[in-house]
Every structure is written in structure tokens, then in C-alpha cells.
């Protein structure tokens, strides 16, 4: 089951602006039944002010496709054509509180339909726009222009991501190389324009993923806070920290008592159920971690015999 946000569910169960807009003067139709999703976006644009006064949609597709379409109509009503043109698929996804990665193509479909509708209103031939590049994915009718746009707008760097956003290469897989080509070219251009870190760019020659940035892992003995404490301050802190922990030990029938603090060595006496318990070493480690966290200094907790 998909992890849809409440907003997606709300707009799927009770979609706003669903249906036919008879007085539409800007209509965008994208997708096909064979692809599994299709959207007809109908807008009414005021010719004087260029403001979109009404918007309706009809969608064939999954829950997130219907929710994305509905979201789109909500977003464009009241906007001018130019303002609407500035919207991206990411804006649609954001409006929905996010979409599962595999469903991002639903937001892209909305974006494409919007572009198609506005082109229709301006009297432009939307088809031309899609002939600027060769058809990349025959299964889903995705061309180079759409792949490139999705890569640029969303900062995509892998074929899998391109598939999630555009569906390209999501079926027979024969266009994977073509998608890789567009990715490499577009990423390279983005790096040159300073819009993408070179290390993240898609490189077909390198199939080993870039190393993750070294994690800032804290050794339990590494100092957390700067500044030194006097022995007395340290003892007080250790004492109060142990007091904080005792209720948890007591709940399990055990107890713990501070014996001595010697430099970074904290000597404790475990008693009650802790004595002879197989988990005692875990408990000691737990106490040590807790003390380090509370005191902010490296410490070593050492249990001493209780008799």
C-alpha cells in the first residue's frame, strides 16, 4: 500500500473541480489509456486580465494522479497565465505534502497538462514543443525535452529517478541507454552552470555509487563539550546523573551506587537484581553512555564487586 499523505487521500476521496468545464477556452490533454494515466485539464481564462477564473479536470489514473490533477486545478485558479506557467511539478507535489517517489510522474503529468492547456490558449501548437527532442521512451511516449526538463527541475541524477518522474524506461527497458545519455548530458550542463555538485552528477562510466560523506560518528570516549570540570563538579554531576538512572534500574529490581571518581574512571557498585545478571555489562555500558551524554566528557564506568 502506498504511503499517501492525508492531502492526497483527501483530494482523491473528494476531488475538487472534477468534471467537464463547458466554457473552457484552454484545454490540455496528456497521457493515454495504454500508459495507465491520462489527464484532460480544462481552464477558463479571462481574455482581458489573463487570469484563470475556473479550472476542471478529468483523469484516468491512480489515486495520486487524481489527487495531483485536483491539486493543480486548485493551484491555478486565480493565477494569471504567466503565474501558472511558473509552476513546476515539484510545486504540485509540495501542495500535496509530497508523493511517493514512484508516483512523482503523476505531478509531472499535471505540469505537462498545464503547459499544454496554456499553449492551447495562446494558440500555439503544443506538439511542436515536443518535437524539440527525439522520442526517448516509446512505451510511454516520453521525449528528450520532457526527460531533460524533469532532470533539471528536480535535480535527478539516476535512471531510476527519471523513471519515477517521467515513467521513461519503466517498461521494456530498451531505452535505458538513451535515458542515460540524456542524464549524462543534462547533468554535465548543470554542473557547468553551477547547479549541481560534480560528485553527484550521473557518470555512465562509473557504476560504483559515490561514497557517502563520512559520518560524524562520536566515539563514546571522545569529548563532547569543551572546558574542564573540577573533580568536585564532576563528582556532583556523576552523582546526579546516577540518581536519574536509578529509577530505571530499580524498576527491574536492581540498583547502582557511586563508589569513587578517579580521573575519567567512575567506579560504581551494582546491587540487587543487577548482581549476577547476564545483562549487567549492558547495563554498565548504558550507564556509561548516559553519563557521557549528561556530563559531556569522556568517562569509563567500572563496576566494583558489591561485597
Amino acid at each position: 500500500m502506498w504511503d499517501y499523505t492525508d492531502k492526497v487521500k483527501e483530494l482523491f476521496y473528494n476531488p475538487k473541480n472534477a468534471g467537464v468545464l463547458e466554457e473552457a477556452n484552454a484545454v490540455g490533454e496528456v497521457g493515454a489509456i495504454s500508459c495507465g494515466d491520462a489527464l484532460k485539464l480544462m481552464l477558463k481564462v479571462d481574455p482581458q486580465t489573463e487570469v484563470i477564473t475556473e479550472a476542471k479536470f478529468q483523469t484516468f489514473g491512480c489515486g495520486s494522479a487524481i489527487a495531483s490533477s485536483s491539486a493543480l486545478t486548485e493551484m491555478v485558479i486565480g493565477k494569471t497565465v504567466d503565474e501558472a506557467m511558473a509552476l513546476t511539478n515539484q510545486d504540485i507535489a509540495d501542495y500535496l505534502g509530497g508523493l511517493p517517489p514512484e508516483k512523482m510522474h503523476c505531478s509531472v503529468m499535471g505540469h505537462e497538462a498545464l503547459r499544454a492547456a496554456i499553449a492551447n490558449w495562446k494558440g500555439e501548437a503544443w506538439v511542436d514543443d515536443h518535437e524539440e527532442g527525439a522520442l526517448v521512451c516509446k512505451c510511454f511516449g516520453v521525449d528528450e525535452g520532457m526527460v531533460e526538463r524533469a532532470i533539471r527541475i528536480n535535480g535527478l541524477t539516476s535512471v531510476e529517478q527519471v523513471t519515477h518522474f517521467t515513467k521513461a524506461a519503466g517498461s521494456c527497458g530498451t531505452c535505458v541507454e538513451a535515458v542515460e545519455g540524456v542524464l549524462a548530458r543534462t547533468n554535465a550542463a548543470m554542473v557547468a552552470e553551477g547547479k549541481l555538485e560534480a560528485a553527484l552528477a550521473f557518470d555512465p562510466a562509473n557504476s560504483v555509487p559515490a561514497p557517502r560523506r563520512a559520518r560524524q560518528k562520536q566515539s563514546p570516549l571522545a569529548p563532547v563539550k569543551k572546558g574542564s570540570l573540577t573533580t568536585l563538579q564532576k563528582i556532583r554531576l556523576v552523582e546526579s546523573a546516577i540518581e536519574e538512572l536509578r529509577p530505571f534500574l530499580k524498576r527491574d529490581g536492581g540498583d547502582c551506587e557511586l563508589v569513587d571518581v578517579d580521573g575519567d574512571r567512575v567506579l560504581v557498585k551494582l546491587s540487587g537484581a543487577c548482581v549476577g545478571c547476564q545483562m549487567a555489562s549492558v547495563t554498565v555500558n548504558g550507564i556509561q553512555e548516559k553519563l557521557i551524554e549528561l556530563i559531556g566528557q569522556p568517562l569509563r564506568v567500572i563496576p566494583v564487586p558489591s561485597h
Binding site: E29, G36, D37, A38, Q58, T59, F60, C62, S64, S171
Partner: protein
Amino acid sequence: MRPVYLDNNATTRVDPAIVEVMLPFFTEQFGNASSMHAFGSSVGGALRFARQQMQALLGAEFDHEIVWTGGGTESDNTALLSALETQGGRDEIVTTAVEHPAILNTCAWLEKSRGIKVHYIPVDSRGRLDIEAYRRALSPRTAIASVMWANNETGTIFPVEVLAELAHEAGALFHTDAVQAVGKVPMTLRDSEIDLLSLSGHKLHAPKGIGALYVRKGVRLRPLIRGGHQERGRRAGTENVPGIIGLGKAAELALLHMDEENTRVRALRDRLEKGLLQRIGNSFVTGDAGSRLPNTSNIAFEYVEGEGILLLLSKAGIAASSGSACTSGSLEPSHVLRAMNVPYTAAHGAIRFSFSRDNVDEDVDQVLEALPPIIEKLRALSPFWAKDGATGFSPSYV
């Protein structure tokens, strides 16, 4: 209202009677069957009994023909890989276009990594195998033919006994993925030429993570999982004792309920199917009505997309599944429906209802009430749906 669970081909509810027999094997009889002490030997006896229960369900000649595995997928992988190893000089596989991914993706990997040639036999529009194409694909190069006993999506049953004989004529082994058929179709493996058969516990009201591979006596088997000598060296790893005990009990209960599956459960399925087709236009049943599992119904609703149907059904407390692309994360509709040439207008809106002995009459009533308005609602949203049947949709690009 009680929740309506009609997705039993995906997985079944574990029968409380099965849980009960399993429980002692977690905390009391927890021994390792290989151990030389009382804890081990009592477990060994219980495992033998479970094997006999499964032997009875399958109609196998010997109980040692049952090898316990981690599930249907492992059994499928074992069968294919073992055949390629034991059938020296034979490097081809014959299978069908509508197998479960456990077979299809393993075959695709074998093609890619080992250069194995795989023949995918097509089916007709009702999902029936092209037997002539199957016969032609078999050759002295065929190591193994693998054909599912019944299809998981449509329930269509394949004539595996005949297919096994044809495979043997070509000197090939025959394997069947019977995950959906076991417990619903009576089986007498001792009278058949089937060499290998995969089954899964969780489709039989036993837990997930346990399955079995039937290996006819005399068929050589190379283990997929290597290690200890468990299962006579055919599947290493300490036995999943509670799982095996549960699957044994599940086999016993399945045998007991086999008649019910084919009478009461079948009647529920038929009533649902008939009722939905009457109430909802532009819909049809996919699969072979003449030879089909008694519990499965796959209905295609035209001009709507499956995920929307499932989400709205789920809201109404009804669980079913879909061959739709959108629900699976893949982007193509079900490979089974595509292989059957079900048009895209319908394949995306195909819903599978799969029953079990847990279902009752009220379940059918609930679906008959809930589904028609759901389809109507989604069709009203769809640009392809027009009352006169014509589509008003003409995208400027597709």
C-alpha cells in the same frame, strides 16, 4: 461491519488451529531435530508426521519426496537451478509468459548471467496455454519445463499432467509452481509424471516463510542453500520447526476442506461474479471460465484504473487486489493480462477477488453493494468514459 478479505491469493489468514499446534514448538519442544538428546528426537518425530500430512495432500508416493523450504519462491529457484546442474549438456528452459515473477525473474537472470535460452510459451485470450508451441519448444536441449498449475491472477488451470508427459518425451524434467493450486485442486502426484512441485504455506492458512518442494523419488536434486545435512542434504539450514508443523497441519486441514473449496467457496465466487457483471456494464471476466480455480475471479472494468478502485474498496472495508500498474510500483499493467491481449482500456482496471474457506455470504453482499457506485464515481472522473461509449479524449501527444 466485518472487514471483507478477498485477497486470499496474496496471502491467507493463519488458521487458529494451526497456530495452536505450532505454539509448543517455540517454548517447549524447541530442540534442534539434529541433536542427540530428548529435545531433538521429539522434534524429529513431529517433523516426520508433518511430512506425512503433506504427502497425503499431494498424493505423493513417499513422505521423503517432500523437502521443506523457506517458501514458494525458494522452491521455484531450487527447481530451475538444480535442473540446469543435473541435466548435463542441456541449457534451455521452457516456461510460460504468465508465470509468477519467482519463475520469470529467475529465468531472466539465467538468460543474462548464464546464457541460458528460455522459451516463453504464449497463452490465448482466455489464458490457455498454446500446447503446440510448448511441444515445439521442447527439444534435446531442454533441461526443464516449468509451468504453473494455476495462474495466480486469473485462476486459469493448466493441464500439467499432460505437459509433464510431453516434457519427459523430450527427456526434460518437469516442474510446476503449484502455489495457488495446492489445497484447491485434488492432486495424486504418485500417478503423474510431475518431477518437481513448489508450494507455499501462507497461501494455505499456514504462516509466511515456510514452503515445500516436492521432488519425485529418483529425481536428482542439487541444493540451492548449502550447509548442513538437513532435509537429506537437499536444503541446508536448521529446520523451521514451528513453520513445518504448521504447514503439516495446514495440509491436513486443506485436504479436509477440499470439497468445501469446490462447492461452497466456488458458489460464493460465482455469485459475486454474476452479480457484478449484472450491476456494472463494460466489464468482463478474464481467464478460462471452463478451467479455473474455484476461489478466483478476475474482472476487468473498462475505462477505470485499478488503484482508485482498490483505495475506495479499502475505504469500504473490502480488500482485493489488482493487476494494475499503479498498485505494484511497476508501470506496466499485469504481464498476465498483457499476455492474454486484454486491451489496455480494461487491463488497467482489472480487479482480482480471491476467496478462501474464511469467507461467508455477507462478504459477497458487501462487495455487490459497495463496488457499483465506486466504478461509477471513477468513470465519471475519467476522460475516456462517455455514456455513449465514445471517448471524447484526443491527446495532442501520447
